[in-house]
């Protein structure tokens, strides 16, 4: 039972981070980003490659991963940001898939990423670090749990202050009407790139922690499904709310892993795995029908059109 809660909370924390970044993009800036998994993957891979192939320390690799995700965010944003709504969605979902396929079989790239064979053995230093941090009394899982949730809280607090500042107000204005914001003297393109970059950096951080959780990387861990799970979490918690991604993520993963409690005599393990996917689909439908604004979202905002 404790193992169940640990698993749920570690995954929930990682996806809360992912959804926080997505919430910055969609919930506050109005950018339809469907390629979030690419930033997640670049975080994991940069860290793992720096540790295993170039023998950097964990901290350097950790910073490197976030910097790489940020830069990648800007690179993706530059062409993509000219597009609005659905067009941006199409381009970003494509970027996510292209990125995964390049990791898997890009010529030259596979020398670093080892293609479908994946990378392992990058997490030792991270787990040994707990002695230095004075957390030696925790077992590895508890230690990861503590680190993940520290990250969630730190990111949440930093975003909270950022988003209620005038900077966040400009982003909300862009979400409502970007031409109006241009007419008010705001450099909309620059703000969109900033939003994209920060959301990507948070996803990169989530990617590093995800890599620690799964222990070995391979391209199949970065399917578009990850993006859709993050979207579901954001919608479930409430788009454009500060705590939505966190609450949404805990509920989502509790349900997702809840199939473990179904006795084998009723449904076999393999069937239960499919049940989860059905459960996620049903959850998305339920949110849209019963509470389109999400758990924390405001009904009034949902009903108002622009």
């Amino acid at each position: 039972m404790i193992a169940y809660f640990q698993t749920v909370l570690i995954t929930a924390g990682i996806f809360a981070l992912l959804a926080q970044g997505l919430n910055l993009h969609r919930g506050y800036t109005g950018l339809l980003n469907f390629g979030h998994v690419a930033f997640f993957a670049i975080g994991s891979y940069t860290m793992a490659i720096m540790v295993t192939q170039f023998e950097f320390g964990f901290f350097t690799s950790f910073i490197g991963a976030i910097v790489a995700a940020t830069i990648f965010g800007v690179i993706v944003a530059l062409p993509a940001i000219r597009l609005r709504t659905d067009y941006l969605a199409i381009v970003t979902i494509t970027i996510g898939e292209i990125f995964r396929l390049v990791i898997q079989s890009g010529p030259g790239v596979t020398e670093l990423t080892r293609g479908p064979r994946g990378i392992r053995g990058y997490s030792n230093e991270f787990f040994f670090l707990r002695e230095d941090l004075g957390l030696g009394f925790l077992d590895p899982q508890m230690y990861l749990l503590a680190i993940v949730w520290t990250a969630v809280i730190v990111v949440g607090v930093l975003l909270f202050f950022l988003l209620r500042s005038p900077w966040g107000r400009v982003l909300k204005g862009i979400r409502e009407d970007e031409d109006a914001m241009r007419a008010l003297g705001k450099n909309v393109t620059s703000y969109k790139i900033q939003s994209f970059a920060i959301g990507a950096a948070i996803a990169g951080l989530a990617g590093v922690l995800f890599a620690m959780d799964i222990g070995s990387l391979s391209p199949v861990a970065y399917l578009p499904l990850i993006t859709f799970q993050a979207w579901t979490i954001m919608m479930l918690g409430g788009m454009g709310t500060h705590f939505g991604p966190i609450i949404g993520s805990i509920i989502f993963w509790s349900i997702f892993n809840g199939t473990l409690f179904i006795p084998d005599s009723i449904v076999s393990g393999a069937e239960a795995a499919y049940l989860r996917q059905i459960g996620v689909g049903a959850l998305i439908m339920l949110i849209i029908i019963l509470r389109p604004q999400g758990i924390l979202g405001s009904r009034e905002e949902m009903v108002l059109d622009k």
């Binding site: 005038p166 900077w167 009407d177 031409d179 914001m181 241009r182 007419a183 905002e301 108002l304 622009k306």
Partner: protein, 268 residues
């Protein structure tokens, strides 16, 4: 203070328009639908790129500048279809428009919160004064989307004033607004003009045009066909032709009727 000259070639919607706006006055830009009035606004404010010609404002060229940098120079526009930021409060709509806010820079909130707080206080004060002036103060915490069409027009003008502009381009400020609110809006425009602000308005209500504007510019087919005082324009044969097509004496009678305040071109 303002010296705006425009000339465009190649862009069909605005085809060789050449005009100058006098500072400190209310200028009306009229013309039949499709004359290129709104397009002209879009080109001047940087929303569309002109193929040729030159635009200068306040002594500097603003040709090909981005909308946000045009706005920062003090040339602010409103929209024909009002663009209120619906899921933000009326007060937030005002605050977001304040110019040069330190807190708009990324991460400023983490490092210089006291600077932001001080500015926010000043801007809130200014926003509240403007909302009081425009009778929107009771609505300050409501979502902008809940305002009526007329109130949104007022909000858009008030929001433009937050930017302390030198010149405001109003695109059909009276469209869809009830007469009482409309009169109030015009009153504000008049008062601001007296304080030295320059206005250009696209308007279809001839009654309004003749009443408030000191200068009238008439456009048709992307060209400026004439300009002058309201009375001069009223008498001009080209204007009559542009609105009603070339025709006989019956047309002039019809035009007189139009100029007396009835719909100019079938709108509203």
């Amino acid at each position: 203070m303002d010296d705006l000259q425009l000339s465009f070639g190649g862009l069909k919607a605005v085809d060789g328009a050449n005009l100058e706006i006098e500072p400190g006055k209310i200028t009306a830009l009229i013309g039949p639908n499709g004359a290129g009035k709104t397009t002209l606004f879009n080109v001047v404010t940087g929303f569309y790129k002109a193929d040729g010609g030159s635009i200068s404002f306040d002594g500097n060229s603003i040709m090909g500048k981005n909308p946000h940098s045009v706005a920062k120079r003090g040339l602010v526009r409103t929209f024909q279809l009002t663009k209120s930021l619906g899921r933000m409060s009326v007060l937030e709509n005002m605050m977001v428009a304040a110019p040069s806010q330190a807190g708009e820079k990324l991460f400023a909130a983490w490092f210089v919160p006291w600077v932001i707080n001080r500015q926010e206080k000043q801007n809130r004060q200014k926003a509240i004064e403007l909302l009081e002036l425009f009778n929107l103060i009771e609505k300050k915490d409501d979502y902008a989307a809940t305002l009526s069409g007329g109130q949104r027009k007022l909000l858009e003008l008030a929001r433009a004033l937050m930017m302390e502009p030198k010149m405001i381009l109003l695109d059909e400020p009276m469209a869809g607004i009830n007469p009482t609110l409309g009169a109030r809006l015009l009153e504000h425009v008049g008062e601001l003009r007296d304080k030295g602000m320059t206005f250009v308005l696209v308007e279809h209500d001839m009654d309004v045009v003749m009443r408030v504007s000191e200068h009238v510019i008439v456009m048709a087919n992307g060209k400026v066909i004439t300009q002058g005082s309201a009375d001069e324009v009223r008498q001009n044969q080209e204007v009559i032709d542009a609105y009603l097509g070339t025709g006989g004496g019956a047309v002039e009678e019809a035009l007189d009727e139009v100029m007396e305040g009835k719909p100019a071109d079938g709108r509203e």
